[in-house]
């Protein structure tokens, strides 16, 4: 699976997204599932899936699917 596919699956799973959500254009607080509590679950799930550790600033900066994608690329996760 590509990075994008894996990340999409993590988002759907961690945030319990209903079908039909445009995951790749999702931004923090666009939907009720991605609130500050959902954010904690999402960060933990991303760390588990990709074997990375995000620091505090990265957790705060992680405000959209696209930012998460770029962040993981920056951390050397394979496409």
């Amino acid at each position: 699976m590509t990075l994008t596919d894996r990340l999409r699956a993590v988002f759907v799973d961690a945030l319990e997204l209903p079908e039909g959500v445009d995951v790749e254009n999702l931004k923090y607080r666009d939907i009720e599932q991605w609130d500050s509590l959902g954010h904690m679950t999402l960060v933990a799930a991303i760390e588990d899936e990709f074997g990375v550790q995000l620091d505090t600033d990265q957790v705060i900066d992680l405000s959209s699917f696209k930012v998460a994608q770029d962040m993981l690329r920056g951390l050397g996760v394979d496409e």
Binding site: E32, D35, S36, L37, M40, A44, E47, Q53, L54, D55, T56, D57, V59, I60
Partner: protein, 348 residues
């Protein structure tokens, strides 16, 4: 990186022009604030020699007035305080303000916990979050701190009972390296301290961040010094930082220094303690009413606020960090707190 670098003279010189600019910004953006300034005798263009001369608002005004400096369609979030009387403050943030407050809180906390997210023990119950759409103010406070941690572990179970097994297992995983502990002051004492003492738990690698005041511990004769002394003696925990902040100046956290000895102001902020009869600044060592000062609020006129807390400045440029070193002594009596804002309510 640290946000506790400015001595008092440099701080005053840096804050004054920024606060004057903010005052004019809010005057132009908020008609209600402009009316308040006019009523207080602060017309546009007035010159100020000191931060202490700038016009301040009692924090209570945010409970009765819509004070905001952004148009309705730019309101990103409205924060509310927990009011003991049912009244709540309403604080309006746009996207930029929400982002700035999160960043400054983070930068402040990183002074004492670093940039890495540490394993985190929360002296609270997971039940805080079972009703997802209706967090209490306490829940919101806990959530805000969770960004700084990982492997979040709760000290209390779903029925609010201390869970020694959860804590023991957390310490087995993480106790040999730095870890973070967060809790409200009274809960930290009632649940974590007692639990650690009873089960002889070693918290010596912990960094405790706590807030909320001492009122609920007064009958146990536990004050800040006793809290620090007994945690160190019984559990080995020595990295302890009390903090003070309020929703009306979101993003600003006054943080206790590494050796105790009082709270310090981040570089973008300050405190002034005033005499409640004359409103003049009192000398070091004299208790009074605490005014809090922050250059962060742009979306609402909360840069210069008189709190309803009593406090005392212990010293200036004489502690572990530069600037003023102070303590909060408790809430003002209610009547006195009301009195503080009556003049303003009449003017508005």
């Amino acid at each position: 990186m640290t946000l506790f670098t400015l001595g008092q003279a440099d701080r005053e010189a840096r804050l004054l022009p920024e606060l004057v600019e903010l005052t004019e910004h809010h005057r132009a953006a908020s008609p209600e604030y402009a009316r308040l300034l006019a009523a207080l005798g602060h017309p546009p263009g007035r010159r100020y020699a000191r931060v202490a001369d700038l016009p301040w608002l009692p924090v209570r005004l945010f409970k009765h007035h819509v004070l905001k400096s952004i148009p309705d369609d730019e309101v990103f979030t409205v924060l509310t305080s927990s009011g003991t009387t049912g009244e709540v403050s309403r604080i309006y943030l746009d996207k930029a303000a929400a982002s700035v407050q999160q960043r400054m809180l983070s930068a402040t906390m990183q002074t004492v916990i670093g940039g890495r997210r540490l394993p985190m023990l929360l002296v609270d119950t997971r039940a805080l979050f079972t009703k997802r759409r209706s967090f209490s103010a306490r829940g919101a406070g806990v959530l805000g701190m969770m960004n700084f941690g990982r492997d979040h572990t709760f000290v209390l179970d779903e029925q609010d009972r201390p869970d020694p097994e959860a804590v023991r297992s957390f310490l087995a995983r993480h106790g040999d390296q730095p870890f973070l502990i967060f809790g409200f002051t009274f809960m930290t004492w009632l649940y974590l301290y007692e639990l650690a003492r009873e089960h002889r738990l070693d918290l010596s690698n912990g960094i405790l961040i706590h807030s909320g005041g001492w009122k609920k511990l007064a009958d146990r004769a536990v004050d800040n010094d006793e809290f620090r002394r007994r945690f160190a003696q019984e559990t080995g925990l020595r990295h302890i930082h009390n903090f003070y902040g309020m929703v009306e100046q979101i993003g600003l956290t006054f943080l206790e220094g590494p050796d105790g000895g009082g709270l310090y102001c981040p570089d973008f902020s300050d405190v002034i303690v005033r005499d409640p009869a004359t409103w003049r600044e009192v000398p070091v060592g004299t208790p009074g009413v605490v005014q809090v000062i922050s250059t962060l609020p742009r979306s609402y006129p909360g840069h210069l606020l008189l709190t309803e807390d009593r406090g005392v400045v212990h010293g200036v440029d004489d502690g572990a960090w530069p600037g003023k070193r102070f303590s909060i002594l408790g809430r003002l009596p209610r009547a006195e707190a009301r009195g503080c804002s009556d003049t303003f309510a009449a003017a508005a």
